[in-house]
Every structure is written in C-alpha cells, then in structure tokens.
Symmetry: D3
Subunit: 161 residues, 6 copies
C-alpha cells in the first residue's frame, strides 16, 4: 500500500487549538499530513507567512507525519504539483458551511482529480475562529482556551505595536 | 428581591426602530436596561461614539429604567465591572444567527458568569440593519420607516459631507 | 421589586442534560422558573406526561426557585393565565433556529404581551436532542453523557418493552 | 396585452455564465429584460461601470429583448422611473439567500409597487460568484467554465497591472 | 403580445393570508394566475382536495385573472399539459428555502422548459404556515390574523370532530 | 503501510447516482470502502434491507475495493467491531448539514476513536435525495437522471403494488 497523504491548506492567522485538533484527527486517517500556509495577501493577515509557518511548526512539533510549508499559487495547482489528491478542510458548526462548499465546488471545477474532505473539530472549538480571536485579543482578553501560550504572547505583542 | 439589571451592548451606527423596539421589550422583563455603546473602531463607524450615545439618549428619552453609556473595553469585562450578569442581544430573522452564536460562545469562554439572552424585534423590523440603512441612505432614500426623524436628518447630513 | 418569573415550556421526552443546564442558567436570571410540560399528543411522546413531569422533578430536586408542572392548552393562554410575561426557549447551535423563530412569531401574534427569550445551553450539549437520544437508545448506546442515570434506566426499560 | 418588462439589476463585476444563464431564463418569461448595471462605488469594483456594461452587451449580443444600461440612483427609484414593476434577482443555492431577502424587504418598504422575483441559475453555476472568480483569477486559474473567453482575457489583463 | 400565464401550485391545507397575498402579487406580474391544488395524499391533508379548492375559490372571488383548479399528476406534467412555462413558489423568510430549492432543481431535471420563480409574501406573513396554523388551531387559538374568517370556522369545525 | 479502510453507512432506500458518485470518490482516497446498509426500521423504508443491499451490490459491481453489507446495531459499535476508524458521510449542498453535524457529534460522544469525514457528491447530484425520488416516482416521473435503470424499474414496481 502506498502512503496516504493529504494537504490541509489555510491562512492560519494565527493557528488555534481548533486547527491543532483537526491536524491530530487527520493524522489518525492519513500517513502524512502537509499543513500548507497560504500567503493570502488579499486577507491582509496580521502575521507574515513566515511567522504563521513558524507558529504551526512549533504547535505540531513532535507530531509524527506532520509537515508545515507555505504555498504561493492556486491551491489546486499546489496540491497537484505535490502529487496529492486529498485536501482537508475543517468545518465548524457555525458559519463555514456555505463558503467552504462554494470554494470546494469552484476548486473541483478547476481540478476534479482532487477530493476535498471535511472534518469537524472538537465541539468545544467549533466556534473558535482566528478572526474572532483577534477581535477579543485587541481588548486584552485571556486567550488561554483558544490558542497555545506562545501564540497568545505573539498576539499580545502584535496588538501593542 | 434585588433589581434585575441587563446590558444591551452594540455599535448602534445609527440606532434604528429595531433597536428601540428591543429596548422596550427588554424593559418589560428587566428593572433596568443599560444600553452600552461600543467604540468599535474596527468597524469604522459613520458616527462618533458620542454621536451614537446622543442619538440613543434622544431615542429613549422618557423610557423609565433605561440608561445609555459608552464602553471601551472587552464587553465581558465591562459587564462584570458593572456587576451585571445578563447581556441582551437582538436576533433578527435573517443573518444574525451564526455570528451572534459564535460571539456568544466566545464570550462565555471568557466569562461563564454572564448569561447572554436573545430577543426578537417586531417582525416588521426583523430585516432592518444599520448597515443596509446606510447603504440606502447614501442614495437619498426615504428612511422614515427605519429610523426616527432626527436620525434620518443626521444620516442625510453625514452623506452630504 | 416584584419577583421575576419565567416559564420554560417543552415536551421534555425525556429531559436531557441540555435542558437541565438551561434551567440552571435561567435560575441565575429569574427568581422563579416554572418548567411547563406540554402534553403534546401530536408528537406522540415515548413517555406519558406524568412520567415526563416526574423525571423533571427528580432532575431539578433541590434547585431553589424551580417548579415543574404540566399544561394542556395553548402555550400563550397558559402563560397568560399564570400571569407571567416571559417564556424561555433553548436555542441549540443546530437545527432549532428556524422552527423556534417561526413558532415565536406565531405566538407573538397570538399574545404580544408575552416576551420569548432564547438562551443557549453549554456548547457540549448544543447538539443533544431528545429525538436523537431516543434513536441511539434504541440500539443500547451508553447515554451517560446525555441524560441523568435514572433517565437512562427509564429509556432502557422503554425500549425493552 | 401590454409588453411585460423586467429589470435585472446588479454589479456584474464581471459578468459570469451564471448571469447569462439567468438572463436567458428571464427572457423566456418577459418580453423585455433590462440588465441594469449599478455603479456601486461602495463595493469598489475591479472594472469601471462602462467596462461592465460593455462586457454585458457583448455577452448578450443577439439576444432579442435584452438591453443593457447603467444606473446611478436608488434601485427602486430607477425601476419606478422606467415605469417597470418587476425586478429579477438570481438566487444561488449557497450564500445569497439571507442578504437577498433582507435587501428585498428593505426595497419593498421603500416602494411596495415593485415586485422582486427570484430565479435560480442552472445548478452547475449555482456556486459561481464574481467574487470567487476574481479570487482564483488572481492566481491565473483557467476560468473557461465560469466566464466567456473575452471576460477571461479582461480578468487576466486586470490582474497583470 | 401573448397573455402571460403562470401556475401557483401547492397543497393549501388550508389557504392562509400568506397565500392570498402571494396570489395578489403574482397578479401584478402575470395576466393569468392558475392556483393549482395538489391532491397530495402523501401529506395526509386535513381538508379534502375539493374543500381546499372551494376555500381558495372563495378567497380569490373577484380577483380578475385568477382561477383555481386541482391536479393529480406530476406537477411538471400538469404545467406542460396546460402549455404554461412559469411556476410560482412562495418563499417564506424561514424554513422554505432548502426544500424549495431541492424540489425546484428536481423539477428542472424533469422538465427544463419550465421556469420556477420565487416570490416573497408580505413580511408579516413570512412565518405563517398552514402546518403551524393547524397546530395552534388544535388548541382553539384565535386565527383571525392568519386566515380568512370562513377558513377559521372550517378549522374549528375540523378539530371538533 | 496498512490498508486504509472506511465505512460508508446509510439507509440507501434506494441507492441513487449521488451515492454511487460518492462511493467512487471515496475509492480514490481509501483502499477499501465498506458500504454499510442500516436496517433502519424507524424510517420505515420502501425496500427491505436485503433488496437495498442487492441494489448496492449491483450498482458497485466491478468497483475494486468496494464491499456491501448490512448492519443491525449502533453504527459506532458496528464500525468499532470491524476495527475501522473512518466513517464517510455525504454532504449535499442542501438540507443535510445540520442533521449530519448533530448526528456526527452524538456519535463522537459515543466513540471518539472514530473520525467522521464528509464528502460532496458531484454538484448535479447535490440535491438528489432518496426521499424526493420516491415522491416523484409515485407520479411516474422519468428517473433516468437520478438512479440506475434497474433501480428505476424496481421503484416503478414498488409503486404499482
């Protein structure tokens, strides 16, 4: 049997416990999970791509079969180039569904060899979004339930600038 | 029995008949309703916080048990500092549900002593949003069914600048 | 200040940890919470109204300010007759929203003096429904995370018949 | 019988096969369909109004009963001034529903003589949005399934600037 | 110009003010509106098809261009046989959307010559459903805001049996 | 590397082109896909479990790595007993989302070793449901776009009884 590999693409601005939970779940299914960090200049991220890659590397240290890298092209082109045919997307209970479906169908039109599968994070992370976390971080909220400590530190620093 | 107090937080940019309807409904349940105007620089409001507070004060003049004030911190911190444990949020038939739930669950993680309750405005206001009103005000629409006359005047002035 | 009273109506077939969580949250806001068990012959409940009332009484024993009773008329008529003007409904993250809103607006047309407020159960109960529990109970699933032990026992007995 | 006329307003930034499919469907019902291109400075379109009008004209060339024009006022005022009482809106399977309804109800309050009807594009276009197309065009994706060839060329040029 | 005709199919068990409002709106667009009452034995209606046709006839008496009739075959076959190509469906703000879309797409697969258009009832009827009305009628609720007086009388009689 | 196996459970009453599309997609990801037919007496299926298994076997004949079998216990118990940890569920664009999530979270509480992943059928099948197909089959609709010919024959026979 060949190794089963899957890509988990996203902006991860910043990584949350929801993302980390999903990576762990994906690892139970696939032999290798590549977390792929999009540049995503359109979304105007708070952290640079390198910072986001570093945070993910630190968060997944020691997790066998997980690698982190950036990409700077159309997602389906990147996945195709890696010779992988499975893409993982998290589906939170709230708010993701329609956008994710719309994007998935668009990607399928662009390349129908790639299958997109959806996984659910633990329900206690099902409402955690990087966007909301940044909103409450702005006001100095305690973020220990949403992100790893070193990410919280980075968020505090970012909003002090 | 102690006085029952509740906070109704929001941006109110500007106040609509939907908000006013909700304040009246809340007053039937709680002895004191504090309308709390968020600074919300993130949303880049059309009116300053002071203008928004003034519009709410004028709209609720004579309503016993209703006070209006601004706040400039994490909502749950503000409510806790006021020693209140009930937060009211309006739930319009369309479009609010997911965001409100996501925000409510995030706030609950930040402070589980505070209960968030959702109330429905009158159905004829159930689709009225400050955002849509600003969009149509831009084109000089008649706003008399959405906002009090003095707010309409202020909107016209704002878009003439 | 007068006592603040609220009615929490439902079928409760059977009571779940989600319901119990909501009753506890309601108790933090209101001086008295009346859990009102609908006969609801239409839904063809698994347990008789008396059994459902008993399960709720046992589940809320010792909770100050909570009473349980049945009702057999139009909900708004019952609430009006009790001289109460607040009705509590739970809003689970999934699936309740539209039906609850539709019902609430219908009830408001029937009696606009009564305010319906929505509260959210703890997120780990946000997907628990009496209907789903009965479906998995049918197959002998372990129900300890969804219902109190004595309710689990009753469910097992019901499905052995 | 008088000619039946309808307006199909939008931003069309740029026109997609979904829009064109809808225009064809509308033509089966109405004698005359006026595609009305909003200036929509608020949305900060990629193409100027004139460019968008041109693309629509080119896309509907030869379609009997279809005209294209711009408008620069409140939509209901424009429609009223044209002496038309039917407005067509596309309803994609995903994501449009709530916004469209909210907007439609707001417009109805502004002018209740105008009826808004919703039509569905072919299901294979049901997820195609101008916004998503621009997102993938940015990365050089093949757009031949989403827009006419000359629109694809224009998109490529726009993103090369 | 030929007469524009449209079919408005449904179960109408019983007709509500929401249906009547929609028929009036449809009449502003089409020269002839045929209200088509499905037998719908599957849904096990409270009233017979003939009773439902009678109630609709009485409710639309005097409305020029409106006719009422029953049908007993696949909806698209019926519409095709009548040589009509427009079907009207009401879209209430709550709960209809997904089912209506699913049904519309299924019908389109069965006959792509028929266009289905969606119209919105007045917002104060946007939550009124025949099903909910029957639920509250069961308890003797005042139905004057939902259905014409003679329909209310028929509902009361039906639930007395 | 060990063989990757996944279970695709359902009622399949009857199998549709949507199901078959999903099985093909799953086969691209997993080495072995077990289609597991639930007895599901609760849903009162039109076809017996054996008939449904036969239809699936006939529909997947020649598909390497696909097996079909029935099960008669709690789904998570069945999957655990097979020593598999991945369950596949189809997610149609319309109507499935909330129920699927609720069920998935319930199953996760029952056994957190099992991961549920969601896959999307081809968009032209995204609205096809066994339930709707039975509704239109009742009226003798042409079903060739929804189900394989031999299933259409069986449906016709079933509704002639």
């Amino acid at each position: 049997m060949a190794k089963k590999r899957a890509v988990y693409p996203g902006t991860f601005d910043p990584v949350t416990y929801g993302h980390i939970d999903l990576i762990n779940r994906a690892r139970k299914i696939f032999d290798e999970v590549i977390v792929a960090v999009a540049d995503n200049a359109v979304k105007n991220p708070l952290f640079t791509k390198d910072e986001r890659i570093d945070m993910l590397k630190q968060s997944t240290r020691g997790l066998k079969g997980v690698t982190v890298e950036g990409f700077d092209e159309l997602m389906v082109d990147y996945v195709q180039r890696k010779n992988i045919n499975v893409v993982i997307r998290g589906l939170r209970m709230l708010s993701d569904f329609e956008y994710e479906f719309q994007m998935a169908l668009t990607n399928r039109k662009l390349n129908d060899n790639i299958e997109i599968i959806f996984m659910m994070p633990k329900e206690s992370y099902s409402f955690v979004s990087s966007k909301l976390i940044k909103e409450v971080a702005l006001w100095g909220a305690n973020l220990s339930q949403f992100v790893p400590p070193f990410v919280e530190t980075k968020l505090r620093k970012a909003f002090k600038k």
